[in-house]
């Protein structure tokens, strides 16, 4: 029997693996996509689908701006099921002195060419009347997007198929061999290069990578007449995310096309179980009720958790992880993997084809962690 040889084997059909497979296949590579479960059944099913520009660090700002741009360019090609909408983001100034934060955030974003507008209390009230009345204002970022990640991932899988990529569903990658991958059924796949886009599962195959799980909870309401129109995030978001200790909660809600409201967000550092933690849920519900007081009666119909995967420096991990340049990884997107899916795919294809990457390759290179033993050692808060 002739063994089929591929240029690229992709492990994981989350949104990242699916996008990479699609772009690589489109670039003419012979691609196989390997997924043990269903398309987008990992973090991609659990996440929020907010595509946004984040300014935590200059690198992240450039990166997310670049990534969002790719989504905006793809808009016309996406099927309706992806529910792509430019809802925009409103960063809410909740605490005293927050308007100053709004101003400096606006300045930072504008300096990078990101369109945004500072809203006072009146403008905010007019745009989002359901919000509590005493907010001072906010920062409106019009080009941020909300979409439905599992449908986007499926779109990429179909696109990869269209460009002749093969699918090996029901199998996981269990071992990396020279020029080959071993699958869970014992068979091997021959591929020139392989890309590990299997989220937190990357740790099993590349144990030295310092990846930390961060559990997040989400709540969703029943369908209702839409009353929230933008993705709403409290401006303290960054602070509460980075707050020392292992557990933080911030107001972060997203209107879905169904009329449902998706309510975030929590982070539990280093927690990898998937159980619903009711004390975290309670804090999220409190936060949501504080900002949207009229929502106290809204029924929550489902609560779930998902794992974000983070590297110590808060940047994604994309690139070759061996000296021979055979194995690539694409993970560590923390809470931005939906945003970063297309950008990551572009980055990976550039690496594969030996082309210059859109951002300096060293920023995200996995090899930046060689020699370091654990997450804790690297973690410098």
């Amino acid at each position: 029997m002739a063994v089929e040889a591929y240029d690229l084997a992709v492990a994981g059909a989350g949104i990242v693996g699916a996008a990479c497979a699609a772009l690589a296949a489109e670039a003419g590579l012979r691609v196989v996509l390997i997924e043990p479960a269903d398309v987008a059944s990992g973090a991609t099913a659990a996440g929020m689908g907010h595509v946004l520009v984040m300014d935590d660090s200059p690198q992240l700002l450039r990166w997310t701006h670049f990534c969002r741009q790719l989504w905006l360019e793809l808009e016309s090609e996406l099927p309706a099921r992806v529910e792509f909408r430019r809802t925009g983001t409103v960063w809410l100034a909740a605490s005293g002195g927050a308007m100053q934060q709004v101003a400096s955030k606006a300045e930072k974003l504008r300096a990078h060419g990101v369109d945004c507008a500072v809203w006072g209390a009146a403008e905010l009230r007019e745009a989002e009347p359901a919000l509590r009345a005493d907010l001072e204002g906010g920062l409106y970022v019009p080009d941020d997007v909300v979409l439905y990640p599992p449908a986007a991932a499926e779109y990429f899988v179909n696109r990869a198929r269209w460009f002749h990529a093969r699918m090996r569903f029901g199998q996981s990658v269990t071992e990396l061999l020279r020029g080959k991958l071993r699958l869970s059924d014992g068979s091997t796949v021959v591929a020139e290069r392989c890309l590990l886009a299997n989220g937190y599962g990357v740790r099993q195959l590349v144990p030295w990578l310092p990846l930390e799980p961060r559990k997040g909870h989400l709540l969703i309401t029943a369908r209702m007449t839409p009353v929230v129109h933008h993705q709403l995030i409290e401006l303290g978001y960054h602070d509460s995310v980075r707050a020392p200790g292992s557990h933080s909660v911030a107001f972060n809600v997203q209107p879905r096309v169904t009329g449902q409201l998706l309510i975030g967000s929590s982070r539990q550092h280093g927690v990898a179980d998937r159980d619903v933690d009711w004390t975290v849920v309670q804090r999220m519900a409190q936060r949501a009720r504080e900002f949207l007081p009229s929502f106290a009666d809204q029924p929550i119909i489902r609560i779930w958790t998902g794992l974000r995967v983070a590297a110590p420096d808060g940047l994604p991990v994309i690139g070759y992880c061996d000296e021979e340049s055979r194995t690539l990884v694409a993970t560590g997107h923390e809470g931005l993997g939906i945003t970063a899916a297309l950008g990551t795919a572009q980055f990976v294809v550039n690496l594969l084809l030996g082309q210059p990457t859109p951002l300096p390759a060293e920023w995200f290179a996995p090899l930046r962690f060689t020699g370091s033993a654990s997450f804790q050692e690297l973690h410098c808060d």
Binding site: A45, R81, I263, Q298, P299, I301, I303
Partner: protein, 448 residues
Amino acid sequence: MTEAQVELLVVGAGPAGIAAACTAAESGVQVAVLDDNPDVGGQIWRGEKRSAPSSLAAPWLERAAKASGIQWLTGWAAVGPDGPHALLALPPGGGQLVRVAYQKLVLATGARELFLPVPGWTLPGVFGAGGLQALVKGGWSVAERRIVVAGSGPLLLAVAAYLQQTGADVVLVAEQAPWSKVSRYAMHLLLTQFAKFRQGVRLRRTVRSTPYRVGCWPVRILGREQVEAVIFSDGVRRFQESCDLLACGFGLVPNTELGELLGCQRAAGRLAVDRWQRCSVPHVYAAGEVCGIAGVECALVEGQIAGYHASGNLTAAGRLCRKRDRLRRFAGQLHQAFALRDELRSVPDPHTIVCRCEDVTLGQVREQMSWRAARLQQRCGMGLCQGRICGPALEFLFGWKDRSIRPPLFPVPLGALADEMSPKSDLPSSEKSPSASHSECSTRRLSP
């Protein structure tokens, strides 16, 4: 949120839950019974206290009324576990959550009906068979309405007889199982369970004026704004039956969701239990239909075994095991007799809605490869019922099993999730308990 503590928490106030609660309470254990229904009695005895209770129900309802140390929390829904020794529950009105901590837990969550998608089944006027019965027990008079009872299982005859007694015009009872199987089952009853056979004969007599047709099943439900007629097939011919209401169910499905959230193992669609009705999770028991459909007597016996064992009375529990095993064996016969025929899988067409909450059609679902894919890509099972209606139907249609269960099991208002935990409080005291003495017949009927 408030917090309360009990020694033994029973979820479900049907026969199994009542039996578990009574046996444990009589041994001195402090018990709370929580049920989403506004009534005590579960599916079969609900509303019983308004009419004269049956000879099986009466002693148990009386015992429940007399037992001290049982708190009856009706209208309370268990929404999910909070750690290994507590459940969160939503009291009536839904304004707040109560965390009920327990030392031991009995899951007596019973069963629901199996609904299979039939073109037109979403029309108003189409009910479950047990569903219509429950609504009539709740006070709806269906006197003189023309009703077709269809689907499968012994419940059909029971429902038809009940409806007829309340004055309804039951025009047809249509059982999908073939005569060969139904008659073999009747024969088996005659030889092994004479009482049950007699009960069946009595039911059949009650609905004597109504044709009982076996080997036929609904293939299309007609009507504009509500059901007007049903088309049946017997595999060869089709026939049409006009009606005002359709009561249609295809058997029962154990309510295993709460057990699954607790991490209890399932086997063949029910909670797996050992000889003492213990689940795979420590301190958790299951009894009654949630461990498999076996009828009310088995539910009572299993409830007692769980109640005795939970209160440390192994001898009493042990004495009941043989009876339980016999009743379970008997239930096996029943499943064979009323096994669903393959033809039912081809009843829905691509436009037939499968997931009623999200209006997902069979055609949309069929493109997907699994439950999870259907859920993620088509929103099947993502609605209010959380797949409790379409899940078992899709398991029958496609063999899809791994339906994911997520809390809360029932919607909880945001404000109730947000409320601070207040200091420990007692559960509401049971001022009244279920009582068999209210036999002032059917106060429930509404005057026209």
